[in-house]
Symmetry: C2
Subunit: 479 residues, 2 copies
């Protein structure tokens, strides 16, 4: 059975290449439950495999042929091989976090095979501290980053005593399994599902992408972006210098991840009258400054980050935006001057803060189409690539994307194993070799840095620089 | 730079599908050297990565476009990412051979990405007995099974004290690196290289495939095969019953492997006046009988195996065959009645022995074109598939392929680590869900069983049956 594919999804398939795989990922770290059997991971793996009747979303394969006139459609995989998608792996010695990040970076480098359903889950043992990792990979044509993080939580419980929760691909999680398998184009915002973890049987894209679609993008997107990139709409553009982050990339990835206590970040915000987001951006700013300086590539002008921000439902409605079906938030994107040209941490934080305030104000003055265009940028790296090659575009519109995706506030468990860390993996593209995405969980903030292994060297060093910068910000705030 | 691809290689690319990946593999098991550092595997991996200038064969990617009129050609990978091709992995606990075979079966299931050079090497640690495994995977468009086994030996030394030997992809092993990168079609037999481990800079196919090509196949092959399959040429065909081995397969693989001492097999041969090959086939016969019987699928008629055999150079020349450049052997294929309908092990050995004798005699009576056709079958599963779908073909021409590839007789070492076992992985295709390939090494014979995970259940059981059958043959021979 062949069903249509929405334009956002097929855009990701058309944009994909060996150097630009279009999948998102998530890394979860679990502590073994007290008194767990030695075979805890193996048992978990085997239990997962018993859920061998995946929901429609996890069965579909992209299909394109003469019969579809070269357009991508969805077909159902009649020979789904669950053990291909769900794998049990181990780390080489000495089994440090370093070996884990190395493996996850490698797994994130490989393109999903288009001849099979576009997802993988890797259960990873062999960390010397006994923790267990889960790396999940889903194609952006199937799900966007925000929805992917939500999906990751579906197998978790807030009750440490609960076991046997069905894995994310199980039909048990699919509220629409008895309905028609896919909505026709265009997908309505209501398709985003009824419940908090509800999943449409079709493609899962958050309100963001759905809204872009509804507005008739990418045609409108193209026009607005072209203006923005050419600096004709001053509200959305700044001067972004060239850096090593802004070159053609390869298909190899490296991943770095670390947590910091949310309370430390909040503390700096309270003491300086700034937001958590401001402090996160200031951490990134100081870290990027040191990193580029060490490599002899710190530009004189400040780096510019593209930062997706949530807009209140009321503002969104006033601006004529489609509010999300999930409860009143719409998303826009602000171009933030990071202040990497400032030597003092407090000055950098101040620059970031002012830039965010004026950026959000500018966002309020933008037309709905402009906001949608910026929003689409945040979730749709696929459309950015072609933009960067527009005639007249001689510099990057910004240097990197920094996102902060809210995660669960309460502690979650997988078959009694507490989730200790949650880190998102994103999509570098040509011209944007590094992506920083943060996710809050429990009382910490997890940073996930996904970079091109060849053009963004020594990615791990950024973790040390981030840590150092948080300390510097605390000292500057008198903490 | 784009260079032509020979028809044998492009045949494998055209024939490939998700259910029929066209790569061969090899599994090598090494004992850790005495007094090796704890980081032996890691050090080995890092040393391998220093050889970061692969020979032309290991750099080429298949390329097809409008400009090539849809034909496959070879292009050079300008962004080769060695860490994509050479990987360091580990086994989950408890790290038995079972977990190793599970991992290797999974690695063998995945298609090589056509957008990159068609090879992978996995260095695997985590066996609880401390041994180290190497799984190597190469596309059949690049290399055939026999040449692949030879390639695997190139990194080894007969001297336990020798270290730092360049890995198989290193240009140091390539005697033609200063010459033109690839020969035009058709490749001449001389292209098979000058020395014992010599490698042409182009595609590496043994004399077998080269000879088929020179004869203008696959057109002639098609005609001859069609006659053979339709039972019009009695010399090459027997009645092969339908079994579970002879259905459509999926892309999932399982791998089973085990050694037996060559001396035990030779002992049975000496006592019964049969050859090593006869005893190997009798072991397979008894094992298949028990296996199919347990599954309730033992046919009344005997299974028929297709067995590639080496022909003496003199006979080959008399028959008008192209002798191999490598020293006078040509290869033919004999259809062997396995005697699975016989209850007694001695009777089965006798049936196999007589069938081999008459099959070799029949081979002597075949025309060169017929022999070539049969030969091509052995190395070219790609051509068999379409044949099985010819009008008028209502049964399989044989039930499985059993090959015996001679390996090194002396003990070999990798950086001081003795090679303890060597097992080939081959290519199941639609209609032929199981392939058994044996390789001699040192004083043992390694069996590699590659099967479709879905249609050939409980593959591991065959190992126990093979072992039991060798014992039964020894008792029958009065040993």
């Amino acid at each position: 059975m062949v069903t249509p594919m929405d334009p956002t999804s097929s855009g990701f398939l058309f944009a994909e290449s060996r150097a630009q795989p279009m999948h998102v990922g998530g890394l979860q770290l679990f502590r073994r439950p007290e008194g767990a059997r030695r075979t805890f991971v193996k048992d978990l793996y085997e239990e997962m495999l018993t859920f061998d009747d995946p929901a429609p979303l996890f069965r579909r394969v992209p299909h394109r042929s003469l019969a579809t006139a070269g357009q991508w459609t969805w077909a159902e995989d009649g020979e789904l091989d669950l053990e291909y998608h769900v794998r049990h792996s181990a780390l080489p010695k000495p089994g440090r976090v370093r070996e884990l990040l190395e493996l996850v970076g490698r797994l994130h480098s490989t393109r999903l095979a288009l001849e099979r359903p576009l997802w993988e889950l890797h259960l990873i043992e062999g960390l010397r501290d006994g923790r267990v990792a889960v790396y999940t990979k889903m194609h952006h044509a199937l799900v966007d980053g925000v929805s992917a993080m939500r999906l990751l939580q579906r197998v978790l419980s807030t009750d440490p005593a609960e076991t046997g929760v069905a894995p994310m691909w199980s039909v048990e999680h699919d509220p629409r399994r008895s309905l028609a398998p896919v909505s026709p184009v265009p997908v309505s915002p209501d398709a985003d599902g009824p419940g908090p973890w509800g999943l449409p049987a079709g493609t899962v894209h958050s309100a963001l992408a759905l809204a872009s679609e509804a507005a008739g993008l990418p045609a409108a997107l193209g026009r607005t972006l072209a203006r923005g990139v050419r600096n004709e709409t001053s509200a959305v553009s700044l001067y972004a210098p060239r850096t090593l982050l802004n070159t053609r990339i390869t298909g190899a990835r490296r991943f770095a991840a670390q947590d910091w206590p949310m309370e430390r970040i909040r503390g700096v915000g309270r003491a300086t009258g700034t937001t958590v987001n401001d402090v996160v951006l200031a951490m990134c700013s100081g870290a990027m400054r040191t990193y580029l300086d060490e490599l002899g590539g710190l530009p004189d002008a400040s780096l510019v980050a593209m930062v997706p921000v949530a807009l209140r439902a009321r503002n969104a409605a006033r601006n004529g935006q489609a509010p999300s079906a999930r409860g009143g938030n719409a998303v826009g994107a602000v171009m933030v001057r990071l202040g990497t040209d400032e030597a003092d941490p407090a000055d950098r934080l101040e620059v970031v803060h002012r830039s965010m305030v004026s950026g959000k104000r500018a966002l309020g003055e933008m037309t709905p189409a402009q906001i949608l265009a910026m929003s689409a940028l945040g979730v749709a790296p696929a459309v950015l690539g072609p933009m960067l090659r527009l005639p007249g575009v001689t510099r990057p519109p910004f240097n990197l994307v920094i996102s902060n995706v809210p995660g669960p506030r309460r502690r979650h468990y997988l078959n009694g194993a507490p989730l200790e860390g949650l880190y998102p993996l994103s999509i570098p593209i040509h011209g944007m070799g590094l992506n920083i995405t943060c996710t809050s969980y429990d009382r910490q903030l997890g940073f996930g840095l996904t970079g091109c292994r060849r053009t963004v060297p020594h990615l791990q060093r950024l973790l040390g620089h981030l840590d150092h910068e948080l300390g510097a910000l605390e000292r500057a705030a008198g903490l």
